[in-house]
Each structure stands twice: as structure tokens, then as C-alpha cells.
């Protein structure tokens, strides 16, 4: 009887997933949202999410998470870990969405030539990646919440694991760099490079500047790199990977605020160069911080959870992962407004 019930449950889950996939396909084919289409951005987000999942989880853990999302039962601990996988996938989609928007925006600024209206349209289109990230994050949160509830119930039944954090050192472990995780990092690097190549391809770069020089804004690299490493090293060893999350997020926030203040001074002084430097700093600092969060801090925190060194990611880390991409998006819009706002010269 129990076997029949399980089969029914699996069948229902499969039908639900198929229905959702068919609905999305019909919406895409209908063309109703063709104005919201950014193929390069969509491809970047999907492949980037796959790579980010491989950076933090082994292929076996990913397989288990998919099977349990499809209705396969498991122990309380395995359900809890699968719930963490889906939560991390949602987090990665959200952060990658913001990173994609920032990268697209930078490339449009770097290669923007020709008609002004066209440049402005491409700048707005770069924000679509953030929208895709939000949609994908919501899709991933559905199994995360479902499995989290199941895990709680099962753990309660098993009366096994205490709610407190497990004791013991939480040293950051590069020793767990498995081949699939190395493949994840290689894939992630390839996705970033291909995204840039795809966006730059066919566009004339005004001036002799290669795109590499446009993407490397040294003050932002020094501030985010130096600040993050300093904060992570100054933390206690027990803080583990949470130190990296805090480091990247805090230095990113500092960069955003520094840029905004400098831009406001630029408007007061009516100095275009000052405003441009501030915009460049905002975009580069936020991009680098998001890159650090998704490629360094996130996978390290995931390993801590999957190896049983922690029950879940820190609450402060989760707050930063939710808030920082949103702030980046708001600041990108501010940068867009600053770029397109006409400014008269003093005395003009």
C-alpha cells in the first residue's frame, strides 16, 4: 500500500514539473514577452547556474537533490542537504543575475557607439538578466522549501540531530576540491568568457581599447580584493567561509557608497570626469564583489554544510546574498541615470 502511495506521489510530482515546463515553453513560443528577451543573458544565466552548482556540490549530491525534489524519500539529514542545494541554487541564480546585468552594462558602456538611443536600449536590456535571475531563483526556492519542510518532519521523527551547530573547527577546505568541482570552476570561467565574447562580438569598439582594459578598473580591484582578504583573514578561524561572504559583501557595499558620494560631488562640481570615474567604480566594485560571492564565498559555505561542519549557512551571509544583488541593481539604475542625464558646462 505504501509503495503504491509513493508511486502516486512520484507521478504527481513528475506531472507537475512537466506541466510547468510546458507552460514556460508555450509562453516563450507565444512571443508575448519578446520585448523581454535577451538570449545571451538567458544562456549565460542557465549555464552559469549549472557551473555554480558544480563549484559547490559534487555530482552525487546534485543527483540526490534532483531525485528528492522529484519525490524520492530519504533520511532527515539527506533531505536537509538537498534542501540546502536548492537554496544555494536559488542564491546563485539571484547573484548571477545581478553579475550578468553588471557585466552587460559594462560591455555596453565599453563598446557603446553609434546612435545614442541604441546605446540606451542596450543598457536597459542588460537589466533583463536580473529579471531572469529572479525568476530562476523563485523556481529553485520551491523544491528548497518543500524539502526543508520534509526534512524538519523526518528529523523530528528520527529525533536524531540536535538543532545546535556542530562543534569543531571549520577550516576552509580546499582539500575537498573534487574533479567535478574543478570542472565547475573551469565551466564557470568559460561561461564568463563566452558571455563577454558573445556580447562584444560584432560590435565595433570605439577607440583602440580592448574589452579586457574596460573590464579591469584597478581602484575597484584593489579595494574589493584587499578589503575582502583583510576582513576574511582578520576573522577568527571558527568563522570559516562566512568571513569571505562578509568580506566580499562589505567591501562591495563600501564601494557602492564611495562611488555614489563621489558622483554626487561630481554633480556639484559639474565635472563629467569625476562622475564617470564614480560610475566606473560603482560598476566594477559591485561586479567583483558579486564574482567573489558566487565563485569563492558561496561554494566554501556550501562545502561546510555538505560536509557536516555546519547545519546551515550563516544568517548574516543569507542576508547579504539577498540584499547585495538588489542593491547592485539599484546602483546600476542610478549609474544609468547619471550617464544619460544631460549636464551643462559651468556658465553654459
Amino acid at each position: 500500500m505504501t509503495e503504491i502511495n509513493r508511486s502516486f506521489a512520484k507521478g504527481r510530482t513528475l506531472v507537475r514539473w512537466l506541466f510547468a515546463a510546458a507552460f514556460i515553453l508555450v509562453v516563450l513560443i507565444s512571443g508575448f514577452f519578446s520585448g523581454l528577451m535577451n538570449k545571451a543573458g538567458l544562456l549565460y544565466l542557465v549555464s552559469g547556474s549549472v557551473a555554480a552548482a558544480l563549484m559547490g556540490f559534487t555530482a552525487r549530491e546534485i543527483g540526490t537533490a534532483f531525485r528528492q525534489a522529484a519525490g524520492v524519500v530519504g533520511t532527515g539529514e539527506s533531505l536537509s542537504k538537498s534542501a540546502h542545494f536548492w537554496e544555494a541554487a536559488a542564491r546563485n541564480a539571484w547573484v548571477l543575475g545581478a553579475l550578468g546585468s553588471a557585466l552587460n552594462f559594462t560591455i555596453v558602456l565599453g563598446t557603446g557607439s553609434g546612435e545614442i538611443a541604441g546605446v540606451a536600449v542596450r543598457m536597459i536590456q542588460s537589466f533583463l538578466v536580473m529579471l531572469y535571475g529572479l525568476v530562476l531563483a523563485v523556481i529553485c526556492l520551491i523544491p528548497a522549501m518543500k524539502l526543508s519542510g520534509q526534512a524538519e518532519r523526518t528529523l523530528h521523527r528520527e529525533e536524531a540531530r540536535p538543532a545546535s551547530e556542530p562543534a569543531g573547527p571549520s577550516r576552509i577546505g580546499f582539500r575537498t576540491l573534487t574533479p567535478d568541482r574543478i570542472f565547475g570552476y573551469a565551466l564557470f570561467a568559460a561561461v564568463l568568457v563566452l558571455n563577454v565574447v558573445f556580447l562584444v562580438g560584432g560590435r565595433s569598439q570605439s577607440g583602440p581599447l580592448p574589452i579586457g582594459k574596460i573590464l579591469l578598473h584597478w581602484p575597484a580591484i584593489l579595494v574589493v580584493g584587499g578589503g575582502s582578504v583583510a576582513l576574511a583573514l582578520l576573522m577568527d578561524a571558527e568563522t570559516g567561509a562566512r568571513g569571505w561572504t562578509l568580506g566580499f559583501a562589505v567591501t562591495g557595499l563600501t564601494g557602492l557608497l564611495m562611488g555614489l558620494i563621489q558622483a554626487l560631488f561630481g554633480f556639484v562640481h559639474r565635472n563629467i570626469a569625476e562622475i564617470a570615474a564614480a560610475c566606473a567604480f560603482i560598476i566594477s566594485a559591485s561586479s567583483l564583489s558579486l564574482l567573489g560571492l558566487v565563485a569563492v564565498a558561496g561554494p566554501l559555505e556550501d562545502r561546510e554544510v555538505m560536509e557536516g561542519r555546519r547545519v546551515r549557512s550563516g544568517s548574516l551571509s543569507r542576508l547579504f546574498w539577498a540584499v547585495f544583488p538588489l542593491l547592485t541593481f539599484i546602483f546600476l539604475i542610478l549609474a544609468f541615470i547619471m550617464v544619460v542625464t544631460p549636464m551643462e558646462k559651468p556658465g553654459g
Binding site: 558602456l109 570605439s206 578598473h217 584587499g226 578589503g227 551643462e344
Partner: protein, 103 residues
């Protein structure tokens, strides 16, 4: 006195008798040379390891990263030109030059 202790004492007496005289000069010189080589080799080996230990000290990296942070802040404050900032400047100038219609 235990049996083991008695054995040790006998062995000690035997060694004292066997090496009653000083070592021959050439043997002593050879031993000194070998000791010197061992010491100098150890000293050579210690220099890089000490340097590496210093290099990997946490405080060194903290100081370096803080220096990087301040260098970045100073560079940004000094309004040093960057390719991205130059491009934004050019775009902003283009947007400013577009004629606007006032009603």
C-alpha cells in the same frame, strides 16, 4: 642494582677502555669537516624555509591586503583615468550634446 643496569655499566666500562686515547688527528679532522658540512647545509636549508614561513604569516597578508585597500581608495580619490571611466565620460558627453525639445 638491576640486571639491565649492570649490563649498561659493563658496556660503558668497555667503551671507556676501547677509546682511552684521543682520536687520531686525521680522524678528528675528518669528523670536524663532516660536522661543518652538516651545519652549513642545515643553515642553507633554514634560510628559505624561514623566508617562506615569514611570507605565509597571516599578519603579512593582512598588512598587504590593507595596503591594497588604501591604494585603491587613494587611486580612486586621485581621479586617475581608466579606460572605462573615459568611455563613460565620452558617452555622457554624447548624451549631453543631444538636442532636447522643451515644450
Amino acid at each position: 642494582m638491576t640486571v639491565q643496569h649492570k649490563d649498561d655499566t659493563n658496556m660503558e666500562d668497555l667503551l671507556k677502555k676501547a677509546f682511552a686515547d684521543d682520536l687520531p688527528a686525521e680522524v678528528a679532522a675528518g669528523m670536524r669537516q663532516r660536522i661543518e658540512r652538516f651545519r652549513s647545509g642545515k643553515a642553507r636549508g633554514e634560510v628559505p624555509s624561514a623566508a617562506w614561513a615569514w611570507f605565509f604569516r597571516r599578519s603579512v597578508w593582512v598588512a598587504l591586503s590593507i595596503l591594497m585597500l588604501f591604494a585603491g581608495i587613494l587611486l580612486q580619490g586621485a581621479k586617475s583615468s581608466s579606460p572605462l571611466a573615459d568611455r563613460i565620460s565620452a558617452l555622457k558627453a554624447e548624451f549631453s550634446s543631444v538636442p532636447t525639445t522643451r515644450r
